[in-house]
Subunit: 428 residues, 2 copies
């Protein structure tokens, strides 16, 4: 992809009214655009990151046997009344009455809708277990939107739902999700702390949240310096979970962002909505459910928050919008060799299955280097006069700032080797 | 993919309250589920078709240099007031006031939002032309929803927007889109009639619509039996376009569905929203725009409408949810060979890059054959006792109902050959 044919509106200045580094970099690197506060567009480069994060999530969901579907944004309020969550979530629900005088809302989450769907199809224990998920836009009427795409009115979530005949089945699916979540965040370059949590408005007994310590968080992780036990701030204050265990330890607190939350729901929704199945003994029982969410937009903000320096973003390999940026620096004289090498590297790297961005713009070398650091593609291949005079080109690894000078004929091989290492590292 | 691990809730009966064949088959083949009238979920099989149609659209959009982005569903009404379309589209707009007392609506289309976005970034003729597109959910408050996903309250569209410095640029982008649209519909197995059309609420002078004759349509194509000229019903009645040309010809009319519509907008939006650029001569001018829509959900309904028989769907190769279905028919005795062949074919076909569905359910052969015809995967590989006794298996081509008996060792080669032909046919 040539930069001149790709819409990447970078900006030098820090946008006014932004406090979080990730929010600033999302705007400066041309990843998102604010329509109104709490409502963002993904620009082409940002959409590429979104698609890669979604791709990782899909791979890990499919790997544990979950099936993807796509549920609507528009929900009839009568469904929400069945569980009483029309009132519990009233504060954040966007509601309207349509032309047919139906009371509707924009889905802030999809437990009621998926339960309604499954109820129409699942009748027997032989159809269980089933695990369904989607990646879809959610809506919340937030009074205080914050940190760009972190706390927004419109955001993207992955939500999965498990349906089982008994608690053992639920426990098994819950454990599979637990592991899949770890893998997803690891592949995104995020070290998460998993905490037992309060089930809140979702319901059920057991739940865990996946937190990443970061200043864009609105939660806190409390750690005991004696026993190392950790818990979320809400859980700590609510139940005093840590303190009774280790009376000597001091507690310290870190600000953290919640990226995922998994719940053993039990029968809260299936009982209220009458999603029943016929068990082997001929008895009708409510389906045992679990639900499992990941804030996809938030994951992107958290990745940037954890992978940046004063020059810009340092994308982890698996979520980078491109794998390699080729940066030719043409001079005043004959640029035939630079142009030929640019085309050749582009062709050969694409041939290896890599996503390549070529900065072919007629901009100063300084501007191009700054933009490259800002946009943060993991590997940069610079083709300039001075190095070429020695038969060399330069590779910069964005994550470590390491610069390697290689013979021009071995550049593609070296990049393949570096990209491979990065992929492996990200997958561990 | 094993059928027993994949959520495909087929049904034998024609669902009540459905008039269109495509609507019936969408429900019966387990592709969609109705949440409330005009609001549908895509089930896993339907989502696979959706993704393939989206994939074709993306390929053809990217091929003409368009960049994909993702715009929000929530729009501030103040944007719509700038163009006066808050009133023009008032009838179908879903509106609400949020907690901050902002008047908002759910986007029925995105001209205002994209113009607002481009205005923030494009300042100079050097940044033009630019073509942006998205695949996103749209909302319309429809009083009379019809034909399932054809006229719905929530539906998926591809909308593209071109930005040029002059009319020649617009014309060029319009011609590129015109050609890309033909390719997209061809690849989806749809023969479209392209008609000059009224620009309606979009504005601008020139527009074309892509129609497919089908009973789910709400438009009509008028053809003159003498000169062969064609026009849309609205255009005919509005301007009497055909009749003056050929006074002898009789007109006949076909019901048709509009799948795409492209518009040379000019400066309607850029002037109203002050999306200006500095031209080479230093003068500020409004950007010249075009917009280009495809009703993605509608395309799926139209494909089914055109490719079915009394047994079910006959998916064209490029949009089929799977390429091959393997249908083992185990007997009462030893099924070792059937099971081994099933696994081997699955592995080998997947190895060739094909998407394979294995009907491993413990259902009667009759049920499995009926479901296979209903779900309509292009190629079916049946492994049964009687044929195996002769060392053979059976391949059925769903489109033509042709059945081919092949030696079990050459089944994979034959399927590869048939799939290849189908792909080529679809691409012509």
């Amino acid at each position: 992809m040539k930069w001149s044919n790709f819409f990447i509106p970078t900006m030098k200045e820090i946008p006014i009214g932004t406090e979080a580094v990730s929010h600033q970099l999302l705007l400066r690197a041309g990843l998102v655009h604010m329509l109104t506060s709490g409502v963002y567009s993904y620009l082409p480069l940002g959409l590429r990151v979104l698609r890669r994060v979604e791709g990782i999530i899909r791979e890990e969901m499919n790997a544990i046997g979950a099936n993807e579907l796509f549920l609507p944004c528009l929900h009839p309020m009568e469904l929400w009344k069945q569980t009483g969550r029309d009132e519990v979530l009233a504060d954040v629900m966007i509601r309207f009455r349509d032309k047919r005088k139906r009371d509707m809302c924009l889905g802030p989450t999809h437990e009621e809708v998926i339960t309604n769907l499954v109820k129409d199809f699942i009748r027997s224990y032989r159809q269980l277990p089933t695990v369904l998920y989607q990646i879809q836009t959610k809506f919340r009427d937030e009074l205080r939107t914050r940190f760009g795409i972190v706390r927004a009115c419109e955001f993207i979530m992955k939500d999965a739902y498990s349906f089982d005949r008994d608690k053992e089945g639920l426990k098994k699916n819950y454990d599979l999700m637990y592991g899949a979540y770890k893998k997803i965040f690891d592949r995104c370059g995020l070290e998460t702390v998993v905490l037992e949590a309060d089930s809140g408005v979702m319901g059920g007994d057991v739940s865990h949240e996946y937190m990443v310590p970061a200043p864009i968080g609105e939660d806190a992780i409390i750690t005991c310096d004696s026993c190392g036990n950790q818990t979320g701030a809400n859980a700590t204050y609510a139940s005093g979970k840590i303190c009774p265990k280790c009376k000597k330890g001091k507690l310290f607190s870190q600000v953290a962002i919640e990226l995922g939350h998994i719940f053993q729901l039990g029968t809260k929704y299936s009982a209220a909505q009458e999603a029943l199945f016929l068990d082997e003994d001929g008895k009708q029982r409510p389906i045992i459910m679990g639900c499992y969410g990941i804030g996809v937009s938030r994951v992107i903000a958290a990745i940037i928050e954890k992978h940046n320096d004063d020059k810009g973003i340092k994308w982890p390999k698996e979520v980078a919008p491109f794998d390699v940026e080729i940066l030719p620096v043409p001079g005043a004289d004959d640029n035939t060799e630079i142009n030929e090498l640019t085309d050749r590297y582009d062709r050969e790297l694409v041939g290896l299955g890599m996503e390549v961005l070529v900065d072919d713009r007629q901009e100063s070398a300084g501007r191009k280097f700054n933009d490259a650091d800002l946009v943060g593609i993991p590997l940069r291949l610079t083709i300039g006069k001075r190095n070429l005079a020695q038969g060399n080109v330069e590779i910069k690894i964005r994550a470590s700032s390491e610069v390697i000078t290689v013979e021009k004929g071995s550049a593609v091989r070296k990049i393949k080797e570096l990209a491979g290492t990065a992929v492996c590292a990200a997958k561990n």
